[in-house]
Amino acid sequence: MARMKFLCDAERCIECNGCVTACKNENEVPWGISRRRVVTIADGVIGKEKSLSVACMHCSDAPCMAVCPVDCFYRTEEGVVLHDKDLCIGCGYCSYACPFGAPQFPQEGAFGQRGKMDKCTFCAGGPEEDGSQAEFEKYGRNRLAEGKLPLCAEMCSTKALLAGDAAEVANIFRERVVRRSGNGADISGWNTAYGKGSLEADMKKGAESGGGAK
């Protein structure tokens, strides 16, 4: 289990928002926050409408970690980016830096009084005793310690949302893309979503494999 990753298959996501609801219920996420969000591109345009479910991407070079003034972010051995709510001062810098809007505040108020930041934990709890009440109240369920995957992915009705070890999830997705007569060379991740010049790299990759011409 090197790196835990989410992967959402845009060809399968039907914008049911089941993952959002499941996450809110399982982790008892505070009011006004959705740790997971479903975006629909070109809503209603036949043949072009695509949906994606996105939460924290658990980046290996996380911007939230780089800007946090109190250094409260850390990465677990499984590559999950977590934060310590005891240290968090609620300044909001992580939410400015995050490309995916993953860190959010429980409520907004005057004088920047917004409580502690809340984010997707990959259902891995936080820095409290595993399975304890304190961990549940602060961070939500620790399903990883129970040998389970994040609930959003496990209950996804179309299996658009996959979670787990990056290599194995990529294999599942590649198998699907091959069945769709592609080559699966490019799967979602930091480079596709946020990297620089990813478009050129994708085009080059597509041209080399010849898969795009089919």
Binding site: S34, Y93, Y96, V177, M203, G211, A213
Partner: protein
């Protein structure tokens, strides 16, 4: 079109912050996102994989024509690239150059003090006092100064604490400290802006351009030569601090602070990033410049602090440092454009 305009403004503002911090932009910070039509052409040419997520993510990243069912108000797009620019500015020039600006200014003042020493009164004190600052003016000044120091220290703790304090006192202690600093900063902030506005109203009349200021500029205020350059109530150095420090930086840092402090009015994350870059970049310059102001107002010049402390200065001090103001106060007429070449200057140093 509007998007492009906003994007241009953001890059422009980022460049402004860099200039303020006497910094050159890092090459990556101003990189424009790839033009949208490239993606469309690529799809048209069949170069892009169908069936995998590349297209969907690319579209999501372009941020156009998308809807989010359960979204917080600040999240109108799924993927924002501006966060990267903000991170590069905040962790880069604002932290680096801002920090060095303060350090260099401090060391520069130490050197200046070692070389020049305290600017003493040349003649003996007469013992007769002149009122220089009314009570309301001193109140405005000291409430501005007090809030400025608190905000400066708490702000520095939030920007540099991770590098300077955290390794010393550890995560838990620094977490409490930073939490306190943030809340103090947020609650004191509006008071600072009120003080700035009060200062502007009270002092703007005596800070307009007067002909004698040209002489002050030509002689660089006599700071290096030790010559006393005549001036009205405020000399050009004080006027520079008023317009650049109090008016420009004070209002900029104050208003952007309000945007950050009251996130209730539908600000997007991008608005907050822009406000934060102007706020922290401006604050770094403000703090660096304030060191010079504090220096000349305390250890740098004999008799300057007592003017703002008690409101009264000695007549000798007034005559030597603000000759025209002194003569006006004694009922003499000062010709309007009259930098007199042969005025009685005391070149003691």
């Amino acid at each position: 079109m509007k998007r492009q305009l906003v994007s241009c403004l953001r890059h422009g503002a980022a460049a402004l912050v860099a200039t303020l911090a006497i910094a050159a932009l890092p090459a990556g910070a101003a990189d424009a996102p790839p033009p949208a039509n490239v993606a469309a052409e690529a799809i048209g040419a069949g170069l892009v994989q169908p069936g995998n997520n590349a297209n969907a993510f690319r579209e999501a990243r372009r941020g156009e024509d998308q809807s989010i069912t359960f979204a917080a108000p600040p999240d109108r797009v799924l993927i924002q690239s501006q966060g990267e620019t903000w991170r590069q500015m905040r962790n880069g020039p604002i932290t680096q150059y801002g920090g060095w600006a303060i350090v260099v200014m401090f060391l520069g003042l130490v050197v200046f003090y070692a070389v020049r020493g305290e600017i003493k009164l040349t003649d003996k004190r007469t013992g007769k006092l002149m009122e220089r600052f009314k009570f309301i003016e001193r109140l405005a000044h000291w409430s501005l100064a007090g809030t400025f120091v608190i905000l400066g220290l708490t702000g520095i703790a939030m920007l540099f604490g991770k590098h300077l304090l955290l390794p010393l006192i550890g995560h838990t202690a620094f977490g409490y400290l930073a939490w306190a600093a943030k809340n103090v900063h947020n609650f004191i902030g509006p008071l600072f802006l009120v003080s700035v506005l009060l200062m502007v109203v009270l002092f703007v009349r005596d800070n307009v351009w007067q002909a004698i200021d040209a002489l002050w500029i030509r002689k660089a205020g006599g700071l290096l030569s030790g010559e006393h350059v005549p001036s009205h109530r405020f000399n050009f150095g004080e006027k520079t601090w008023f317009w650049l420090g109090v008016v420009f930086l004070g209002l900029m840092v104050g208003t952007t602070g309000l945007i950050l402090d009251f996130p209730l009015y539908g600000q997007t994350r991008q608005d907050m990033q822009l406000a934060h870059m102007l706020h922290s970049g401006g604050a770094m310059l403000f703090i660096a410049l304030s060191l010079a102001h504090i220096y000349i107002g305390t250890v740098g010049m004999e008799g300057a602090l007592e003017g703002m402390k008690t409101g009264y200065v000695d007549e000798t001090w007034a005559r030597e440092h603000h000759e025209y103001w002194y003569r006006e106060a004694r009922g003499e007429r000062i010709p309007d454009n009259a930098p007199r070449p042969g005025h009685k200057a005391s070149a003691a140093h």
